[in-house]
């Protein structure tokens, strides 16, 4: 079943929250019989590592809810007003925030990044890692998962030229 609709995305961000859009849209587009290409560049390369260590941070993200994924309902509803002074000074605060977000996702039946990434590859989503940022950040092809391609701006644009949906994440 092929379709002429083609989704091409640039994934440029390497945090846990922003890792979701390219893999959610990529896997869903594939399920909708669309052709999909995702070009991973800059911090987005982190999403292609064999074991990505993705974090989420409330710093510079003032509307990020800080809620507890356990305890009674009224407790879970509280949005904890944690000042920047704390989030920037408490060691490993981002690890705590990441732990809480992962737990909340799991509780709500949301797939992990690795699961969605596996589905994308299984469904034939074309994944391209940006060669230039790989060189700059010191990554080698062996650092990444199997089944991906490598290329530059021209590769991305060649794929995007006949796309119908184009997104920068």
């Amino acid at each position: 079943m092929s379709d002429t609709t083609k989704l091409v995305m640039i994934a440029s961000r390497g945090t846990l929250d922003w890792a979701y859009p390219p893999f959610i849209l990529g896997s869903t587009a594939a399920a909708l019989d669309m052709e999909v290409e995702i070009f991973f560049t800059f911090y987005g390369l982190e999403l292609l590592l064999k074991k990505p260590k993705l974090l989420v941070t409330p710093i510079g993200n003032p509307t990020m809810p800080m809620k507890m994924p356990f305890g009674p309902k009224w407790f879970q509803k509280i949005n904890w007003p944690i000042p920047n002074l704390v989030t920037t000074n408490v060691p490993f605060f981002d690890n705590i925030a990441t732990f809480l977000m992962k737990k909340t996702f799991k509780k709500h039946g949301v797939a992990s990044i690795e699961e969605l990434r596996d589905i994308c590859i299984e469904c034939g989503v074309k994944i391209i890692a940006c060669q230039m940022t790989m060189d700059v950040f010191g990554y080698t092809k062996e650092d990444f998962i199997d089944g991906i391609e490598f290329g530059g701006a021209a590769t991305m644009l060649e794929g995007a030229a006949d796309s119908t949906i184009n997104l920068f994440v």
Binding site: M1, D3, T5, I24, S27, T28, A31, L32, D33, M34, H108, G109, V110, A111, L116, I119
Partner: protein, 78 residues
């Protein structure tokens, strides 16, 4: 509605977006044209998403129902 006889059942309860929409393509591939897949989900977003999926893939939702937070779809393979 429930008198429709499904050829295959797919349980997507407890899954959240986009997982419920990623399961039907694999399940429906195992059916022949005209056969019915019964899919059950608890994700309220699945109502619009299943319709969008059916529209894009050409499969037809012949019936759907909602009861006690559970959504059931009967999809006929194209």
């Amino acid at each position: 509605m429930s008198d429709i006889i499904a050829d295959q059942e797919l349980d997507c309860r407890g899954m959240n977006c986009p997982l419920p929409i990623l399961q039907p393509p694999k399940a429906i591939e195992q059916l022949n044209s005209g056969q019915i897949l019964k899919m059950t989900a608890t994700d309220p977003g699945s109502a619009n998403d299943m319709e969008a999926w059916a529209k894009r893939t050409g499969n037809e939702i012949v019936a759907s129902e909602e009861a006690n937070g559970e959504y059931t779809y009967y999809v006929k393979r194209k």
